[in-house]
């Protein structure tokens, strides 16, 4: 009997629990009460007297009274509120994207410090000036035609308001598929591309392009004729970079590999391991091949000599500035912070931070084990290598993937620097080809391996529904799409850069004279020394620049 009573009590308790939870569910399912304009009339706003007293507590600032009314005589309407919500979302995204772009612009300072520090003092002015003027030359080229080629056929970007004046992509129809090649709207940002959203997109894309162009100056430093540098930079900003940018980001054929060939979501490159860094790194390789090594870099038997930079503090400070700017590079590539899954910016920022740290860790570990000392410049390059590699996958991978990608990039950059210097006999004073080219390509491939299928940017990517998923998480097609991207970078972009720079070499000459190189490029090319108070001596050569006597 007691057992029966206990059972009944338990049953009653369960029924009670069900009864408690049931009304809650019923309330959830109750029809929503529509908000009407009449409801808004009852909302009180601070009076003029209240506002005159100031608002130290921050409770009176930002109320219904701040909502812009279409017709003040009619008062606040529901349409006013809804429009304000929509504009606030776009405003948040505008500000986010612009601030991220400003951070990326500041990366130019980082590049300038890294490259100048890794060069000899006798070339400080020249190296700094290349990094300075790449901003002007690149921006001009991109404004004239680069942006139009890259983004002129991209659809309206919903995060930036969805206005769509960039709507004409030149396509070839081959084998029953459309192959988008380049955009045709937005030259000089004229016509109906004079649009607030387009301007935000232009600024953000322009500083990305500028990052690619500044990579080349490092590989060709200490022997590049300034005029050749200017022409080469213009071509990269106007043609080479925008072409690949269109294929990957502007609705071009690589981005459509998913739609046309069922290869995952097509070629994916969240923030530009391929578009920015591989394009810059492969162009750097082409220029370094054509221009040849610095005098004194190689002995007759082909063994290399170390040519140390003049200021390691500059180099590491530059690396820190770059790492700071990268928080604009990767999280900013959502082009928004509100809606469409953009709150993933937190994850993207952490991935960026992690990969940079594991990259420097990988590099320092490799150098310490191989040479018995932690190498400062390679630690810096390891940091950059990790950041370069995580740039493409940052929006699609988890933290474990990011750490692995960064660490492997840190080791890879050391191997690549050694290989290029000792086997390929390519003199790259700052390791730009290895940091940006090799690790950029690794970043592109790593996305096809580590994308974990959890991202959701508005439900689709490159016109394919669902999340981007890599080989390790079940989609080998995505890895193939990334491989095709890598083949295109190596096969087309490298070739284009090589052929153009070969023409520059033939008609203008890429390299300064023997005398100028020995003296240092500051006086012959720039007309002023970077460090006029010092007597500059190049160790081992006996050549010096003696000033002030």
């Amino acid at each position: 009997m007691r057992h029966l009573q206990r059972s009944s009590a338990i049953a009653l308790a369960i029924l009670g629990l069900v009864a408690i939870t049931t009304p809650t569910r019923a309330a959830d399912e109750a029809p929503a009460v529509a908000l009407t304009t009449a409801d808004l009339k009852g909302i009180s706003t601070p009076s003029a007297d209240d506002l005159a007293k100031g608002d130290p507590g921050g409770t009176l600032t930002g109320t219904a009274g701040d909502i812009v009314m279409a017709d003040p005589k009619a008062g606040l309407t529901l349409a006013d509120v809804v429009n304000q919500v929509g504009q606030n979302r776009v405003a948040i995204n505008f500000v986010w994207t612009l601030v991220a772009g400003f951070l990326v612009m500041f990366m130019q300072a980082g590049f300038a410090l890294v490259e100048t520090g890794l060069c000899r003092a006798k070339n400080a002015n020249h190296t700094m000036m290349m990094n300075f003027m790449v901003y002007g030359f690149g921006l001009f080229a991109y404004w004239v035609m680069g942006f139009a080629i890259q983004q002129g056929g991209s659809a309206g970007i919903t995060n930036l308001g969805g206005v769509n004046p960039l709507n004409n992509e030149f396509k070839l129809s081959l084998f029953g598929k459309d192959w988008g090649l380049f955009g045709t709207k937005g030259f000089f940002l004229s016509g109906n591309t004079y649009d607030v959203g387009v301007m935000v997109l232009f600024l953000f894309q322009m500083v990305f392009m500028d990052t690619a162009t500044t990579i080349v100056t490092g590989a060709a430093a200490e022997r590049w004729k300034f005029a050749a540098f200017a022409i080469s930079t213009f071509f990269l900003g106007a043609i080479t970079y925008p072409l690949f940018g269109n294929w990957a980001w502007g609705g071009g054929w690589l981005s459509q590999l998913g739609v046309n060939f069922k290869l995952g979501h097509g070629y994916c490159d969240f923030a530009g391991s391929g578009v920015v860094h591989s394009v810059g790194g492969l162009t750097a390789l082409a220029v370094a091949m054509i221009i040849g090594p610095r005098i004194g870099k190689y002995n007759r038997d082909g063994s290399p000599n170390a040519i140390p930079g003049h200021d390691i503090t500059m180099v590491l400070l530059g690396c820190f500035i770059l790492a700071f700017g990268w928080f604009g590079f990767n999280p900013g590539s959502t082009l928004g912070a509100s809606g469409n899954g953009n709150l993933r910016i937190g994850s993207i920022a952490v991935n960026t931070m992690l990969a940079g740290c594991t990259g420097s860790f990988g590099a320092i570990l490799y150098m310490w084990m191989r040479f018995g000392k932690p190498d400062a410049s390679m630690s810096g390059n390891g940091l950059l290598a990790g950041l370069v590699a995580i740039t493409a996958p940052s929006g699609f991978v988890n933290t474990v993937g990011a750490a692995i990608i960064g660490f492997s990039a840190g080791v890879l950059v050391c191997l690549s620097v050694e290989f290029l210097e000792r086997v390929f006999k390519i003199d790259d004073p700052v390791g730009a080809t290895s940091v940006h080219g090799t690790c950029g390509l690794w970043g592109v491939l790593s996305l096809g391996l580590f994308a974990d299928g959890t991202s959701n940017y508005g439900g689709s990517w490159n016109g394919v529904d669902g999340s981007v998923t890599g080989l390790f998480y079940g989609d080998p097609g995505q890895f193939v799409a990334q491989l095709i991207g890598v083949c295109t970078l190596v096969g087309v972009i490298f070739t284009l850069s090589y052929v153009f720079n070969w023409f520059v070499d033939v008609f203008v000459g890429q390299r300064v004279s023997l005398e100028a190189e020995l003296e240092g490029l500051d006086l012959p090319e720039m007309g002023a020394l970077g460090y006029p108070e010092f007597q500059l001596v190049t160790p081992g050569t006996g050549h010096s620049v003696d000033v002030g006597r």
């Binding site: 091949m289 080998p476 083949c487 087309v492």
Partner: protein, 62 residues
Amino acid sequence: MKALGLGLVVGGWMVAVAGLLATEATMVRMGVALVGLVASLAGITALNTAHIETAPWKMRGR
């Protein structure tokens, strides 16, 4: 030698893209793309070898 190298670089890319059109099997496409990539890298190696042959440090012993 330089022209041959450049030809290989571009040829590798063409092989990779041709693989997309030739088959719908993902693993075959992956294999063909890898072959194309290796060909392109071999082309860069050939191109660089051509540059090294005439490098000033080799000719003049700088």
